[in-house]
Symmetry: C2
């Protein structure tokens, strides 16, 4: 097998190599069935076991109580931006949205087309380089929605917002799900596209309170009602079976590594390698406020756009890809999700040091 | 690598072995990029090439003119059941549906919740064992919808229905897409879940006329408007990139086999092996009317349910799986999609002969 490089892509993103190796075996013949995992009926025993095991491992990892459904759906977070208000925002209701970046804004846009939205806080004034913790809730919101991690700006909620009592908290956790322990009981709903921390693109994990699903709108097309998917868990129609299989393998990989607490420790260590270096450098500088920094996406700039272009080009030559920052922030972004090995971050920091040494003179 | 068996599953279904072998390689490192195909950014060069190539090969295979978009979406045919009337059925309009089975009925159900539906023909009177070609159109339908192949009953439209001039024909081709040549110019839209003839579950191919997309409803959530996906072809949000990759590999495999005309010839030969045997047998009998028989799903019964259970159990022991018929028809169903090798059908017919010989006495 040819060599793999360090992939700092913001998503789809690096997967654990052991998971890819399992997939290589199982797409040919899974569980000694003589049939590959992509080719099994979603109503058959082999896939049924894969699905049930994925759900059970998900529940075990995050301590998800029986009050919540665990569903694997399609359409990514973007489809959830529409399905959340379709299901949970009555025509005469108001939903509170905490706006911490472009993805929150997209969620707001879809909700606004369906009902009333109150932007309870926003970090737009400083291009979302911080987490807008200064929240002013509306009087009686149907739910409160926030984005736990903001890939583009490299910011992350350290502590979840706390809406007024009785208001369901809904979290788009696409880019930091299962990077740390999570207290599911606090949430009405958590959703996450798989393609950053959980698996390949094409599956979205939805953890949602059963009583909310029961009370949700029922005048929607069948497939856009959560109750449809809760009734026949994840198999109302043909599910993205291979994507679910990979997500299940990722759950097992997290478990084998010690679970979410151990994962958080590793993620803190990896991020500290980068942030500690950035903090003492007068060449590179991080773009997010220190108290809002993400453990998943580390955004930083060099002294000039020319140096940034040179940095990215040279890093690519050295087997570190996906480091170009999003155009709305510029510079560099290192996405260091669960599956990014510590060795990848060490290689990046070593190269940053070398690049700084070589170019400090140019800059000075 | 351990042995694979013959997989007659109705879907997800057998894939070409050469495609699986390519996937085994490419999920580790695709195009010598050092990154697996599941891990590439959907905005990067590597995936962009995969997507563009898949679209180009799709257009080349089926002769799709520039009048039509080629899109890879999520949610399967079931989501299209909702999106079609959401986009194309005005509140004061009527849509004509030709009802040839459960999947047509599900499409009708979603359309009825959104507008008026006229059932222009139906085969319900005889449990959908034939194709309802006797059509009575409404006066001015917004579109005409049909299901080209009916997996459960083993029926298939031999010739497409012909709606009144100017009425867009919309086809759910999930279970026979690219099993034969197709004249796309006749259609307003063709859609197909990938998991039978095109690849794994999790992608749905949508071929739709550009002028229809331009004129479609615009008061829908962004992600449910076809124009959204047409504007940024298949990458409005993160697409199911691995599923699209596999579909692209299947397109190449069809091309390498001679294209759709050659595929049709092979499918006719495979189906004839089964139907010719059924026609001369007084033990097994086909369940679909002869003029409505599907080349994709061959449904048949044995003289008793006990014999059917014994047949399925013994076939499974001999490495032929997925032969149990749908409960609404009973008996057996052999799904022999594009990727089912002729050797699989030959093995099945040989076993049917043997089983008939061994059990004819019991039956007589």
């Amino acid at each position: 097998m040819s060599e793999r490089i360090f992939n700092f892509s913001a998503g789809p993103a690096v997967l654990p190599e052991s998971v890819i190796k399992s997939a290589q075996r199982d797409i040919w013949n899974v569980a000694d069935s003589g049939i590959g995992v992509m080719e099994h009926s979603h109503r058959g025993k082999v896939f049924d076991r894969i699905l049930k095991e994925a759900e059970a491992n998900c529940r075990e990892l995050a301590g998800i109580p029986d009050t919540h459904h665990v569903l694997f759906l399609q359409g990514g977070a973007s489809q959830q931006f529409a399905m959340v208000p379709m299901n949970f925002l009555p025509k005469d209701g108001t939903a509170d949205y905490l706006v911490s970046g472009v993805w929150s804004e997209k969620a707001v846009k879809e909700a606004k087309a369906l009902g009333k939205v109150h932007e309870a806080s926003s970090s737009k004034d400083r291009n979302h380089c911080y987490i807008p913790t200064n929240v002013s809730w509306s009087s009686s919101p149907s739910y409160a929605h926030f984005t736990s991690n903001n890939t583009i700006y490299g910011t992350q909620w350290r502590q979840d917002p706390t809406p007024p009592a009785g208001v369901p908290l809904i979290c788009d956790a696409s880019s930091d799900i299962f990077s740390r322990p999570i207290d599911v009981r606090k949430y009405g709903m958590i959703y996450a596209g798989a393609q950053k921390n959980l698996g390949p693109a094409g599956a979205v994990l939805v953890i949602v309170r059963k009583d909310m699903v029961d009370a949700a709108a029922s005048d929607l097309p069948t497939i856009f009602q959560y109750r449809t998917h809760a009734k026949e868990p994840s198999v109302f129609n043909t599910p993205p079976s291979f994507a679910i299989y990979v997500v299940g393998e990722v759950f097992k990989w997290i478990q084998a590594g010690g679970g979410l607490k151990a994962m958080e420790g590793k993620n803190q260590e990896k991020a500290a390698l980068l942030y500690d270096y950035l903090d003492q450098s007068d060449f590179f500088r991080g773009t997010a406020d220190a108290d809002s920094r993400s453990l998943m996406n580390v955004c930083f700039r060099a002294p000039s756009e020319e140096l940034e272009a040179a940095f990215i080009a040279e890093a690519t030559k050295r087997g570190m890809s996906g480091l170009k920052g999003h155009r709305s922030v510029g510079g560099m972004r290192a996405s260091i999700y669960n599956a990014m090995p510590r060795a990848g971050v060490e290689a990046l920091v070593a190269f940053m040091k070398e690049f700084e040494r070589a170019n400090r003179a140019v800059h000075a």
